[in-house]
């Protein structure tokens, strides 16, 4: 129990620190927030703003208060459940926007992770069982390229082939399964390769263990030995890597969502950063960090489930 308290305490601290960091960072933007809001919403980026217009905006959004008071106000609203601000651009509460966008990101990241884990683990096992055969070598080289290719490049190549040449799936958009295909594939490639390589290594290591030999001596068929004895043990490092990959994946969603016009948190973040929509940036960072921390927490819990030697508490 103490472990969990400590863990959650740290998670809360991290979220707070990240929010504070983002807040003060974003307010250090050249040009000033009031001017950016004014230009983005009312004037147009290229036109000039008058002092009077600026003052009007500043007082409307309480931008004249010292930063720490603004931040305190934000924290207070967040903690009391009032919300985490209102978007300057969308004219909607940030929480509402996040609720709108989060499912798309979870869907994309979830699908990619599912592909990465399923394909990565099966290919990894296959590769381990065929150690040093041709197919193993091919897979290992493929893995090397998988982790080295930039995912946006992969995405562009996929569009070029599947949308433009073969006309199998739409170029971009959101809504149906066929829209999910390319972004998920592009996003999962890197993680898939990473998962596969770890699975292979860990599988090989596990297959050399004494208890595998003993299981053979017991007369169990190979399939059973792999599925029951090898897999669970081999999964331990894989689970750790999945935790690491989650960070990568969330980072990757930003580019991928941008390319495929996917209405998720990642594209929202990029757009908000260029529009200096501070409350939304803040909200997106908050959401992504929370998601990442939560996934890592779950991964740790899964770890204890897989390995009875580890116990928190």
């Amino acid at each position: 129990m103490r472990y969990f308290l400590k863990r959650f305490g740290f998670m809360a601290l991290t979220v707070f620190a990240v929010c504070a960091l983002t807040f003060f960072l974003m307010n250090a933007i050249p040009g000033g927030t009031a001017e950016l809001i004014l230009k983005h919403t009312f004037v147009g980026l290229e036109e000039s703003a008058t002092e009077e217009q600026l003052n009007q905006i500043s007082s409307r959004y309480n931008l004249d208060d010292p930063l720490y008071i603004q931040f305190f106000r934000w924290v207070k609203a967040a903690v009391t459940g009032e919300g985490i601000g209102t978007s300057y651009v969308f004219r909607k509460p940030v929480l509402y926007l996040l609720a709108l966008r989060l499912p798309a990101t979870i869907q994309l990241a979830g699908a990619s992770m599912a592909i990465a884990v399923l394909a990565g683990v099966s290919l990894g096992i296959y590769s381990a069982l065929r150690e040093n055969r041709i197919s193993d070598h091919i897979l290992r080289v493929a893995t090397l390229f998988g982790v080295s290719m930039p995912c946006f490049w992969v995405a562009l190549l996929l569009i070029l082939v599947f949308s433009l040449k073969l006309k199998l799936v739409p170029v971009a958009g959101y809504g149906s399964l066929e829209n999910l295909f390319l972004p998920a594939a592009a996003l999962s490639l890197h993680s898939m390769a990473a998962v596969m390589r770890v699975t292979r290594t860990s599988m090989l290591e596990t297959l050399g263990q004494e208890y595998i030999r003993f299981a053979k001596a017991k007369g169990l068929p190979l399939r059973k030995i792999i599925s029951r004895h090898a897999l669970k043990n081999a999964m331990l490092p894989v689970v750790t890597v999945i935790g690491f990959q989650m960070g990568n994946l969330l980072g990757g969603t930003i580019v991928i969502e941008k390319i495929f016009a996917w209405p998720g948190i990642g594209s929202l973040l990029v757009d908000s950063i260029s529009a200096r929509d501070l409350p939304v940036v803040q909200g997106c960072v908050l959401a992504i960090v929370s998601m990442f921390l939560l996934v890592n927490f779950l991964v740790d819990m899964l770890y204890t489930h897989l390995d009875p030697r580890i116990r928190y508490g």
């Binding site: 933007i29 050249p30 040009g31 001017e35 950016l36 004014l38 230009k39 919403t41 009312f42 004037v43 147009g44 980026l45 290229e46 036109e47 000039s48 703003a49 008058t50 009077e52 217009q53 009007q56 905006i57 651009v89 969308f90 004219r91 909607k92 709108l100 966008r101 499912p103 798309a104 979870i106 869907q107 979830g110 699908a111 599912a114 569009i159 949308s163 433009l164 006309k167 739409p170 170029v171 971009a172 958009g173 959101y174 809504g175 149906s176 399964l177 829209n179 999910l180 390319i259 016009a261 209405p263 757009d271 200096r276 779950l298 819990m301 899964l302 204890t304 489930h305 009875p308 508490g313």
Partner: protein, 527 residues
């Protein structure tokens, strides 16, 4: 121990199930797409910006809702030559220096069925004045009064000859009080235009509008229009080619000719009221020397830029106004490239290449400038590169720098810049005074170069009080001629717009006064 682990498993499994449910959830939304088939006359439009909000009052939805979705209308309209024409106001008159009277149409109904009267117009304008500081400062309205149902009297706080022009600005379009809920929160645009708001999917940011059967202007061409925000030009191009769109604008300029060749798709190139211009920092030596500025203008090959950078989406420009504008000085021609003339001018100014490094110098100092620009408009960075290359051939070393908008503002505020390439709107308000006074008057808000010419100031101030348009425009033509000679801002090219549509989209008429493009009510789909 067992119990401790089971919840974890359950959580994980739930998460996975959630993910799969979400994906199946989005397949079910396909159902609504098939419903589209029921409307035979639906147009799918690829809008060039992300559709972030439909709020026309406190958000930046004005242009979209008025010009692209055709839900709302402005009091004042404009002809293709930018002269004003009646909108939902039939006529207007300047009664006294600060008093205007607008007569409204008596046959206009809002989409909620209610009649539009002067009271509603007053309410609509008051709302936008309160929320939008930009509109407020352009309108300069002190008070409004509904004289009768179809007469609106406006008192301005100071002399404002451009008031009718401002009322053509899409943010001033009239919306019904039913656009707001009881708490006064904006809900949706209820306008008077040819199309009615139907839905806005905030997740996918798709705006759907349907035909307004009772439009005062007559029959409306389309049953339904679906607007999807696709900010990436390349994606728009691929989407219309793949048949996902019927109408879009501004595919990558480089793709226009190729896409025009694609079956069933055609591309039309137009000029829009926006210019690419190079601000010159007059406070920096030697840019204060008019000969240097003229030489630069002669060194820039506007035709090559238009052809190879803009792919003819846009044209070489002479002055700040489109030649088609009624008030434009039609005598001016774009500077054509003339390296000999540039050499003459620079040599006269004392700049010659003494050390033979290809860059001119004077008193041991090279002729070297930095050039800032930004990347939100795709034509700018390559244009900066091309211009730098062209200027270099005239012995002027220009170093282009693509920067964030905020950083550019800072640099401009601090005066740490030489040249600034930007794309400026020239008909935010269809009136020449707005641009000329903002750009060229001493201390004007958009007078980035710090240009100050008493003759220009006098001409503009003088024109303000002249009611006769011909006379007024003559003054402005003179201003144009002066700045053409002095080149405090080097106007490079007119901004272009490429309209890409399927062959079966008929009746489209390009409106050059629109910000990007305007959807006209006559547009229809030919089957």
């Amino acid at each position: 121990m067992k119990n401790k682990n089971t919840p974890m498993c359950i959580i994980l499994i739930t998460l996975l199930v959630c993910a799969s449910l979400l994906s199946s959830g989005c397949t079910s939304s396909e159902g609504s797409e098939t419903a589209e088939v029921a409307y035979s006359n639906t147009l799918v439009l690829g809008e060039m910006w992300e559709i972030e909000t439909i709020n026309t009052v406190s958000g930046d939805g004005g242009t979209l809702i008025c010009e692209k979705a055709a839900i709302t209308e402005t009091l004042v309209g404009a002809n293709p030559d930018f002269s004003l024409k009646p909108g939902i106001a039939t006529s207007w008159e300047q009664l006294e220096e600060n008093t205007w009277e607008f007569k409204l149409r008596d046959d206009v109904f809002f989409h909620d069925g209610s009649k539009m009267t002067a009271e509603e117009v007053k309410f609509s304008l008051e709302n936008v004045i309160a929320e939008n500081p930009r509109v407020a400062s352009m309108l300069k309205i002190a008070s409004m009064e509904a004289v009768d149902d179809y007469t609106l009297r406006i008192e301005t706080s100071e002399l404002n000859p451009i008031l009718p022009g401002v009322l053509h600005y899409p943010d001033t379009a009239v919306i019904s009080p039913s656009s707001f809920d009881e708490a006064g929160e904006y809900v949706k645009p209820v306008g008077t235009g040819p199309y009615k708001f139907e839905s806005f999917d905030e997740q996918t940011r798709v705006l759907t509008v349907v035909k307004n059967e009772n439009w005062w202007g007559g029959e409306v061409g389309l049953d339904r229009m679906v607007l999807k925000g696709i900010p990436d030009p390349n994606t728009r191009a691929m989407a219309i080619e793949n048949g996902e769109l019927d109408f879009t604008v501004d595919v990558p300029y480089s793709e226009t000719d190729r896409i025009n060749e694609v079956e069933e798709v055609n591309v039309e190139k137009y000029k829009t009221p926006r210019v690419y211009k190079l601000d010159v920092n007059l406070e920096h030596e030697p840019l204060d020397d008019v000969r240097v500025r003229q030489a630069m203008s002669y060194a820039i090959d506007r035709y090559e830029i238009a052809e190879h950078v803009l792919y003819n989406v846009g044209e070489p420009a002479a002055g700040p106004f489109l030649p088609s504008m009624v008030w434009a000085n039609k005598d001016l021609q774009p500077y054509t490239r003339d390296l000999e003339k540039a050499d003459e001018l620079l040599t006269a100014a004392g700049w010659v290449d003494k050390d033979g490094d290809g860059i001119r110098d004077k008193d041991g100092k090279p002729l070297k400038f930095n050039l800032m620009t930004y990347s939100t408009r795709p034509g700018l960075p390559p244009m900066a590169q091309a211009m730098a290359a062209q200027l270099r051939e005239a012995g002027i070393d220009v170093e282009p720098e693509v920067m964030e908008y905020g950083a550019i503002n800072d640099r401009r505020a601090e005066g740490i810049w030489d040249l600034y390439l930007a794309a400026y709107n020239i008909a935010m308000v269809p009136d020449p005074e707005y641009i000329l006074s903002n750009w060229y008057m001493t201390g004007g808000p958009d007078n980035g170069p710090g240009y100050s010419n008493p003759r220009v100031d006098a001409l503009i101030t003088e024109a303000r009080t002249i009611a006769d348009l011909e006379e007024r425009y003559r003054k402005f033509n003179e201003v144009e001629a002066i700045v053409y000679e002095e080149q405090p801002m080097i106007i490079v090219a007119y901004y272009g717009c490429a309209i890409v549509k399927k062959d079966y989209v008929s009746g489209y008429v390009f409106d050059p006064t629109a910000h990007d493009y305007r959807i006209n009510a006559d547009m229809y789909i030919e089957k």
